[in-house]
Structure formats: structure tokens, C-alpha cells
Symmetry: C2
Subunit: 255 residues, 2 copies
């Protein structure tokens, strides 16, 4: 039965998209059926998986605003077992348009109902804000995966995100749990990275995955070829880290 | 007469805050009077300049929502000539609260009117979205400075940002210009960085500053001490780059 995991952090540039795309790819390579939902108006996850946005017929906007059946918006990707509901430019207007819609926070949850059973995991890539798109993802999710950059500014927003998750848990989705925190862009050469990782492991009070994603240029090159790291450079340090994150997540499920 | 420059890009993590703080510091060191406005609910610019958010009496939220006089919210920083209107946690609720307020897009512009004349530059640090906080900044600004990470995903959002700027120019602020694009986190060791810089210089159709900000760990360490790079490591490559960006901006003004 499909578990919905929201990949969220309102801090910008913490590797939410890089994590959703590459974790999705390695879960699919392990034989799981994965659906990736691109809820970011920039549509980075869609282009990171080689989707041509001009050729997209239905997208996440149509599903959320016009209540188009989600099956119509699901597209294959180059990765066997990994499907996507892509984002296009019109998603930029969705938050304002949803403000006055009926049950505005549960539109994604309702849309996912019919397909949850087909997939083992649904991963939702969130934009860098705590607006209605992210709230929809948290209301639909079983758990939240929080990528945290190994940088000083990244620590600041963590409290705010935890408070928002608590609010969603109280008002919209009592089952919402924290899947865990994953440290990203770790640079072994700097003290800053080590300090941030230690700080988060000691003080966050949350589960922090063993897998730490290193800063690795291959991860930032892969999207320009429209493929995940597993297809671009499967032996890179970035690939190894995301493969072990996938193992940890499957292991945690007792899968 | 104060020029208002919005530092904006809806892509997350492109160094908007790092640029606003360090450019502000070097403009102040050159003798200009600078006001920094922290419009990001994470309040990174405030903490990057050592502001203790618990001790803040009035902040940008009070100015935008309760129409508190901006003079009451202006605080000194450790940098001579650089003042700030800090952000605190309550800013996270501002976008939703502003939706139904009178003249919601012009609240910052109106608030800045009385103090524009005291400062040479007002720099507005924007959050990673195109919501009402960023729209307020664009409506109040004379020009927009766009930090662009030297990464593939960073190129995707550029078109969207330019369209939003055009919309603001047509409906809210006919004088709005583009100050220029500044390339950030350039890593000379990777082809990706060089390709992105070339791509932007050739295809963006906008002014791209000569100064390219290199990836430099000193820039990401400075905020943990609550000081700009000029006070943390003034001889680092990151410091040099922001100093020459400040020179370029002043030169452009014919200052
Ligand atoms: N481990 C890594 N090593 C090197 N580069 C990385 C790594 N992870 C992500 N990147 C790059 O850093 C940038 C930011 O990552 P990404 O876009 O995935 O973050 P995000 O949190 O999704 O950003 P946004 O807040 O805009 O949605 C991208 O250009 C990406 O290619
Ligand atoms: N040139 C640089 N070299 C190294 N690190 C940098 C550089 N510029 C910024 N950083 C670091 O990268 C991270 C992202 O930068 P910053 O927070 O300024 O971006 P932002 O665009 O303001 O992010 P957001 O979208 O969340 O507002 C920060 O941790 C910052 O310290
Ligand atoms: Mg993203
Ligand atoms: Mg910022």
C-alpha cells in the first residue's frame, strides 16, 4: 500500500528536488513502484527526469485546480518503475487560485486516493515555502523527509518547519510523522559541515539518516542530461549516498 | 536620493541573502548609507548580521501589516552605515494576512516613502517565491538584482522571474528596471559553472555583472558569527568578489 512521503523544507536550495529524483530512482531500481509528484512551480523534478514540458498534456495544476483524474497526468520516465506527475508553468498561479477553493488543503490527498494502492511510494517534491502547495503535500503525506544542507542558514528554518508540521498534524492530518532528516551537500573539507551535522544529530530530536549526501558535482550535472544520478554516474559518491538512503528507507519500512 | 534594489529570485538557495548582506556591507564601507530590509520569513539576513530576534521590538511584519512607522523598526548593525529592518517568525503569516488588506501590493512602497531620502540604497532580501512579499519588494523597487547560481536548475526559473517582473512593471511599478544578473557560487573546477555563465551572458538579454562570486566556504561561515564577509575574512576570494560587485553598482550609478 503506497506510502506518501513529502520531501519538504522551506529553506531554499537544500536539495529537495535532487533528493526526490535520486531517491525515487534508487527505490525504483530496487523493484519498488514509485510515483513522483512535482509540486514546485519551477518544475525542476520534471526537467531533472527529462520531461519536455511543452509536450505535457495534463499536469499537477490540472489535477489540483480542475480536478482532472490523476491517472491522466501520470507519465513514464526513463527510469523503469518511476512515474511522474509533472509540473508546468501554470503551477505558479495555483497557490493564489486555491485560496478560495473548497477544501483547499486536501486537494492533493483526494486526488491521490485512487492511485496510492498502485505504488509502493509516492514522493512529493515541495517548493521552498510553507504555502498551500506544501500544506497540500503535508496533508496528503504519511511522513515528511527533510533534506538539510550542511550550512549555518539551513539550521535557522528547522524550528519553523517543525512547527508547521505540528500544525498540519493537529488540523489536517493526524497521522503525519517525520520520516527523518537527511544531511545534504556535506563537504568533508570544511569544519562548518561537520559542526552542522553534529548539531542536527544532537539537538534536532528527530531521526537523522545515517546516509549523509556529500557535495558532488556529478549530482548537479545529471539534471542537465535529464537523468537521475543512477543513469548519469552510478559509481559517483553522490550515487552511493542516495543508494544507501534508499536502502535505509526500505529497511525502516521493514520492507 | 535612495535607490531601492530588490534582491530576488524564486529559485531557492541562489545566494540572495548572502548577496544582500555582503553587497550592503561593502556599499556601506564605501561610505554609502544603506538600509537592508529582511523580507524573508526565515530571517537569514537578520541573523547573518547578528540581530537577536528575541530582542527585536518592531520588525518588518509590524511595518507591513500594522503600519507601524518604519523608523521604529530600523536597527543598527555592527557595520557602520548599514541599518536593517529585521524579520522575525511572525513574517511567515504575512502573505496570507495581506491577501485581503487594502493596497496589499504597495504596503512596502508606502512604508519606505519617508526614509528613502535618508539612505543611498535600500536593499530588499526576498524569499524564494513569487508571492506577496516578493511582489511588495518589486512594487517598491527601482531595480532588481538577480543572483543566479552557476547550476543547471538555476537557469530554469529565470524566464518565470522575468515574466513576473514584466507583470509588476505593467500593473504596479512602471519604473522597475533590471539592475543586472550576478553569477554566484561559481566553481572554476567544473565545466558546469563555465557553461552556465556563458549561457547566461549570451542568452539572457540582460546586463550580467563582470563580478562573478566564487564558491568560497568563508562566505558560508561568516553568518554563523553574525557578521558580513568584510568583517570575517576581508581578504578571501568571496570578499573580493562582493567588493568588486559593490564597485560595479556604484560605478553604474555614476556615483
Ligand atoms: N549533494 C550535492 N552536491 C552538489 N550539488 C548538489 C547536491 N545536491 C543538490 N545540488 C545542486 O544544488 C542546487 C540546489 O539543489 P536542489 O535544486 O535540488 O534544491 P531544492 O531544495 O530542490 O531547491 P528549491 O528550494 O529551489 O526547490 C541544484 O543546482 C542541485 O543540482
Ligand atoms: N559564494 C558562496 N560560496 C559558498 N557558499 C555560499 C556562497 N553563497 C552562498 N553560500 C551559502 O549557500 C547557502 C545558500 O545561500 P543563501 O542562503 O544566501 O541563498 P538564498 O537565495 O538567500 O536562499 P533562500 O532561497 O532560502 O532565501 C547558504 O548556506 C550560504 O551561506
Ligand atoms: Mg526544488
Ligand atoms: Mg535567503
Amino acid at each position: 500500500m503506497g506510502r506518501v512521503i513529502a520531501v519538504a523544507n522551506q529553506k531554499g536550495g537544500t536539495a529537495k528536488t535532487t533528493t526526490a529524483v535520486n531517491l525515487g530512482a534508487y527505490l525504483a531500481m530496487a523493484g519498488r513502484r514509485i510515483l513522483l509528484l512535482d509540486m514546485d512551480p519551477q518544475g525542476n523534478a520534471s526537467s531533472g527526469l527529462g520531461i519536455d514540458k511543452r509536450a505535457v498534456e495534463s499536469c499537477i495544476y490540472d489535477v489540483l485546480i480542475d480536478e482532472v483524474e490523476i491517472e491522466k497526468a501520470i507519465t513514464n520516465t526513463k527510469v523503469q518503475g518511476l512515474d511522474i506527475v509533472p509540473a508546468t508553468l501554470n503551477l505558479a498561479g495555483a497557490e493564489v487560485e486555491m485560496v478560495n477553493l473548497m477544501s483547499r488543503e486536501h486537494r492533493l490527498r483526494r486526488a491521490l486516493e485512487p492511485v496510492k494502492v498502485i505504488y509502493d511510494y509516492c514522493l512529493v517534491d515541495c517548493p521552498p515555502s510553507l504555502g498551500l502547495l506544501t500544506v497540500n503535500a503535508l496533508a496528503a503525506a504519511d511522513s515528511v523527509l527533510v533534506p538539510i544542507q550542511c550550512e549555518y542558514y539551513a539550521l535557522e528554518g528547522l524550528g519553523q518547519l517543525m512547527r508547521t508540521i505540528e500544525l498540519v498534524k493537529r488540523h489536517l492530518n493526524a497521522e503525519l510523522e517525520i520520516e527523518g532528516l537527511v544531511m545534504t551537500m556535506f563537504d568533508a573539507r570544511t569544519n562548518l559541515s561537520q559542526q552542522v551535522v553534529q548539531d542536527v544529530r544532537r539537538n534536532s530530536g528527530q531521526h537523522v539518516f545515517e546516509a549523509v549526501i556529500p557535495r558532488n558535482v556529478r549530482l548537479s550535472e545529471a539534471p542537465s542530461y535529464g537523468v537521475p544520478i543512477s543513469m548519469y554516474d552510478d559509481r559517483s559518491k553522490g550515487a552511493e549516498a542516495y543508494r544507501s538512503l534508499a536502502d535505509e528507507i526500505m529497511h525502516k519500512e521493514g520492507a
